[in-house]
């Protein structure tokens, strides 16, 4: 059977992923996401001292290491019943928001937008405008993005000593106090990013931008010259002209673990966030409260030691069992919420938090590739406002503690979990401590939710669903698929393969 490997250039971020497609009469009829790399971080944790998680977990990812550190420390604090002072939550939030802002800016202008700077769009009336802004290493917005984002992460380095892979959160708080010099340095970095976002990306103040609260108001806003000429105005007009607002729906169900921790209200039952957590039921159209007991993971189509159905991560395991050639096809597990396939990310985060504009756009056009990218762009404004709030609150509470030492007997055996919204969506760590060491550690990353394989009931994952129905005019140029995949912000290197043997192709992972 012939297999055509397509050179869709998606290899600009970490990880390894292939997507196998079955195409019938030029339309994708089936898709399978194939995680080709076994990470094994859960096994690295087993048998180690619980506090080692704060050194190991940030190494899971070079893009969202702060969120892994945050989840790891929350899991330990939950297991040990350790309280944190408000200033610790403020510093943690500030760093998490900073990481998400830089990730959202880079994803939009270094990864997503440059995909449109290719010859196939040469005849488009906006092509010259697009190249001027987003051409890799030459476009004005592309170059400004490099500069803005490298300076922004200095905020995390102020408290963590470095970024990425820093270990400055620990049970009871953080390692550095919020002194005046640090706050001034952070304020300058944040202000610079916000000024750039306002002048170059949206063409208005953040407050004006966040006040836009309906689809009609947004499209009228985008018609105004200053907004139409902004980076987002240019990009949005172009990608809607490609009909990306009608493509790539995926699952209707969404999941958010909530944004950061509310500094003044954080504590049992650990559900007070800056933006609310929840589950959006795509069938009923209602948001319901998050219940982490509803989460389970399936391995029916994954290369792990088999078990029936799904298991809650506290009872989960990650035992590799590589058996190529059968109907197991990936190193990714299939997490489900209430046995439903969910998507997570900025769209889910803002929709569940009640952002009026996102809810209205979703009501008008449903889930789609344009809306996912728009929500990411919108979220930058939300994150900037929240980060400014954290800085302001730190300045108002400067002399208060950043760390409360846990009681001497706090480090006991038990179970805990830490759940945060990372840049790419819902991230959870589950820890079990026995005889003073880590007995079990399970991690569900945002991309695990989005890029999951089929589960024990045969339900395809969110990405797999989002590709079905897409037209493929030319198997040598599948940019349209690439745009949809990129809208999910994959934390994975991604190559797309066609399974090509005539009218109906049959899937067989290329491993």
């Amino acid at each position: 059977m012939a297999r055509v490997e397509l050179n869709i250039d998606l290899n600009r971020v970490e990880g390894d992923l292939e997507i196998g497609l079955s195409v019938e009469d030029g339309v994708v009829v089936e898709a399978r996401t194939v995680g080709t790399m076994f990470r094994g971080f859960e096994q690295i944790m087993v048998g180690r001292a619980p506090r080692d998680a704060m050194v190991v977990a940030p190494r899971i990812c070079g893009i969202c290491s702060t969120s892994h550190l945050f989840a790891a420390v929350l899991a330990l604090e939950h297991a040990w019943g350790v309280a944190v002072p408000p200033n610790a939550s403020r510093i943690r939030n500030l760093c998490l928001l900073t990481e998400a802002i830089q990730s959202d800016i880079r994803q939009t202008f270094l990864f997503f937008a440059p995909d449109f700077c290719q010859d196939r769009y040469h005849g488009h009336p906006q092509f010259a405008e697009l190249m001027g802004a987003f051409e890799p290493f030459r476009g004005s917005v592309y170059k400004e993005t490099l500069d803005v984002t490298r300076k922004l992460v200095r905020i995390i380095a102020e408290f963590g000593g470095q970024w990425p892979h820093s270990s400055y959160m620990l049970p009871g708080g953080v390692t550095c106090p919020p002194d005046v010099r640090r706050l001034m340095a952070c304020g300058a970095a944040l202000d610079a990013a916000q000024t750039w976002y306002e002048t170059r990306v949206i063409g208005a103040s953040t407050d004006e931008w966040l006040a836009v609260d309906s689809a009609d108001a947004l499209f009228a806003w985008l018609e105004q010259p200053a907004h139409a000429a902004s980076a987002w105005g240019v990009l949005s007009r172009f990608i809607r002209s490609l009909d990306l607002h009608r493509r790539g729906a995926g699952t209707p169900h969404m999941l958010s673990f909530g944004t950061g921790c509310d500094p003044d209200r954080w504590g049992p039952p650990f559900d007070a966030h800056l933006l609310a957590s929840g589950f959006f039921d795509g069938d009923s159209g209602q948001v319901v409260g998050l219940d982490q007991a509803q989460i389970n993971e399936h391995v029916r189509h994954s290369w792990y030691r088999p078990y029936p159905g799904g298991r809650h991560p506290s009872q989960g395991e990650t035992v590799p069992d590589y058996r190529p050639g059968g109907d197991r096809y990936t190193w990714a597990k299939a997490p489900r919420y209430a046995d439903k396939v969910v998507q997570t990310g900025p769209l889910a985060e803002l929709l569940i938090a009640g952002d009026a504009l996102i809810r209205d756009l979703f009501a008008h056009e449903g889930s789609n590739a344009w809306l996912r990218q728009f929500a990411r762009l919108r979220r930058i404004g939300v994150e900037l406002a929240l980060a400014q709030r954290m800085l302001q609150e730190l300045a108002e509470h400067l002399g208060e503690p950043h760390f409360l030492a846990p009681a001497a007997d706090a480090e006991r055996d038990g179970q805990g979990y830490g759940m945060v919204m990372a840049a790419r969506g819902a991230l959870g760590h589950w820890i079990s401590i026995r005889d003073g060491v880590i007995e079990k550690y399970q991690i569900i990353t945002p991309t695990s939710w989005n890029a999951s394989p089929r589960d024990a009931d045969g339900q395809p994952g969110h990405w797999e669903q989002s590709l079905v129905g897409l037209k493929v005019a030319d198997q040598d140029d599948t940019a349209e698929l690439g745009h949809v995949i990129r809208s999910h912000d994959p934390c994975l290197v991604c190559a797309v393969h066609f399974l090509d043997s005539g009218r109906r192709q049959v899937f067989s992972p290329s491993l």
């Binding site: 070079g62 030459r138 500069d147 970024w163």
Partner: protein, 148 residues
């Protein structure tokens, strides 16, 4: 201030060239204005390491070719975007292009051609081990380090 920035994955055979040179150099008495950074598999995340210095030197492995262990000092502009070994992803090639786009003076590059890149191996090939000696000597001369 002079920054020497070492790239590579120490667990991928000859891709560990940079980290091995880093550890060898770190054991020597360095001039006060020299700082060493092990950047691992960072790509764009390493941009900050090129700030606050008058000169930057990049040490990395090159993809296998016809001359395993050969140490070269290519100009940054001659390296392709994808010159970095697979696994670096948005890698050193992109990083060098980003530095140029930002107007940062190009770093001096010391690179050695890998013989084999083997996952889950922390052992360098014989050719790459010889390249480590050559690179350490080269760096010592350039940085003014007494290398007995």
């Amino acid at each position: 201030m002079r920054h020497v920035i070492f790239f590579g994955n120490a667990l991928h055979g000859d891709d560990g060239f940079g980290p091995v040179v880093y550890h060898r150099l770190g054991r020597l008495d360095l001039p006060a204005d020299v700082r060493l950074f092990e950047a691992g598999t960072c790509g764009l995340n390493a941009l900050a390491l090129f700030e606050g210095c008058d000169e930057a030197i990049v040490v990395d492995a090159l993809a296998p070719g016809n001359h395993p262990g050969r140490v070269i000092q290519p100009a940054a502009r001659t390296l392709a975007l994808d010159a970095a070994l697979a696994g670096h992803d948005a890698g050193v090639g992109h990083l060098l292009a980003a530095l140029a786009a930002l107007g940062v003076p190009p770093p001096h590059i010391i690179a050695a051609e890998a013989e084999r890149v083997q996952p889950f191996s922390h052992v360098l090939s014989a050719a790459m081990t010889r390249a480590v000696d050559a690179a350490v000597a080269l760096l010592c001369r350039r940085l003014g380090i007494d290398h007995a």
